[in-house]
């Protein structure tokens, strides 16, 4: 799920930037440090929308650098348990299949795939229903429910299920 959220960051700026372009430098540093990271609490921080408030920089004693407490708005993505989302399958094996939703990786174990699907290695590894109607191959779009998430310091990993009503293959690969 994508969110727009206001976050805070402390940034230390070297005195060489204390000039007319200080704001730009602050923004540039903020983007460089924060965009593309993953935070356990707020999820993947995709992009900074803008700096709302820089506040007054406090000069550190001894070093001369100024510390700014920045307030900024950014787009984040974090999955939550129980959320239903659409994903794109990336690889299939007999234990289940991997899929991704933007920066997030989700794994669906074969225990959470309905019995109707069988693992088939005829042409390429895939899950297929007995009548051949539905097929899960790399590139197909699948709707799943997130049943659990694991968050460590810099990454989020999720486990999903398609064993419920209205879940499963949405469309064939493009």
């Amino acid at each position: 799920m994508f969110y727009l959220i206001e976050l805070y960051k402390e940034l230390e700026v070297h005195p060489r930037f204390f000039g007319p372009k200080l704001r730009e430098e602050i923004e540039r540093r903020l983007r460089q440090e924060v965009e593309g990271t993953c935070n356990g609490r707020y999820g993947f921080i995709l992009s900074v929308m803008g700096v709302l408030d820089t506040g007054k920089g406090l000069i550190r004693e001894g070093s001369g650098s100024a510390v700014f407490n920045l307030k900024y708005k950014c787009i984040c993505m974090k999955p939550f348990k129980g959320q239903v989302m659409d994903v794109v399958v990336t690889s299939v094996n007999k234990m289940g299949f991997f899929a991704e939703a933007g920066p997030l990786q989700v794994f669906v174990s074969n225990h959470l795939i309905p019995e109707g699907f069988e693992f088939n290695t005829a042409h390429e590894p895939c899950y297929q229903t007995a009548d051949g109607e539905q097929k899960i191959v790399p590139g197909s779009e699948v709707r799943l429910r997130i049943v659990g998430t694991r968050v460590d310091a810099s990454d989020i990993f999720a486990v999903g299920s398609i064993k419920e009503d209205y879940l499963g293959v949405v469309s064939a690969p493009l």
């Binding site: 799920m1 994508f2 969110y3 727009l4 959220i5 206001e6 965009e35 593309g36 993953c38 609490r41 707020y42 993947f44 995709l46 992009s47 929308m49 787009i75 993505m77 974090k78 939550f80 129980g82 959320q83 239903v84 989302m85 659409d86 794109v88 991704e100 939703a101 933007g102 920066p103 779009e141 709707r143 429910r145 419920e164 009503d165 209205y166």
Partner: protein, 130 residues
């Protein structure tokens, strides 16, 4: 009551949920804008992946339609999360809504399927309106 669900999930009261179509729009503008100002700009890999995902699953590209969709849902006392889920999943029927978004299975706000169905039908018209 709707706000309570949001709190449990993100623990913050100041968040706004974005639908996938809105994210696609925002990222697109952001990348174009930054590329105009700085020709060497390369979006970070995470943003690239997010942009691809968003444009693949976005339901429509028109900004005004997206605004209208948000107004319609907001008008109906849905929490932020429910708003996001209903818009992202392009839900069509009340049964689907109750199954996919369990918090909508609420007899206080939606005493019968008709109210939910009416809301979903209205959203569906905006989705096709491109």
């Amino acid at each position: 009551m709707p706000a309570k669900v949001d709190d449990e999930v993100l623990g913050d009261k100041d968040i706004k949920v974005l639908t996938i179509s809105e994210v696609a729009c925002l990222i697109d503008e952001y990348v174009k804008g930054t590329q105009q100002r700085d020709a060497d700009y390369q979006p970070n890999p995470m943003l690239v992946k997010a942009a691809e995902y968003a444009s693949r699953f976005a339901t429509n590209k028109n900004r005004d339609t997206l605004q209208k969709i948000r107004e319609v849902i907001a008008h109906n006392q849905l929490s932020e999360l429910e708003l996001g889920l209903v818009a992202n999943l392009s839900i069509e029927t009340a049964d689907e809504a109750r199954k996919l978004v369990p918090t909508l299975d609420d007899r206080d706000r939606f005493p019968d399927d008709a109210t939910l169905d009416a809301l979903l039908k209205e959203l569906a018209t905006y989705r096709e309106f491109e």
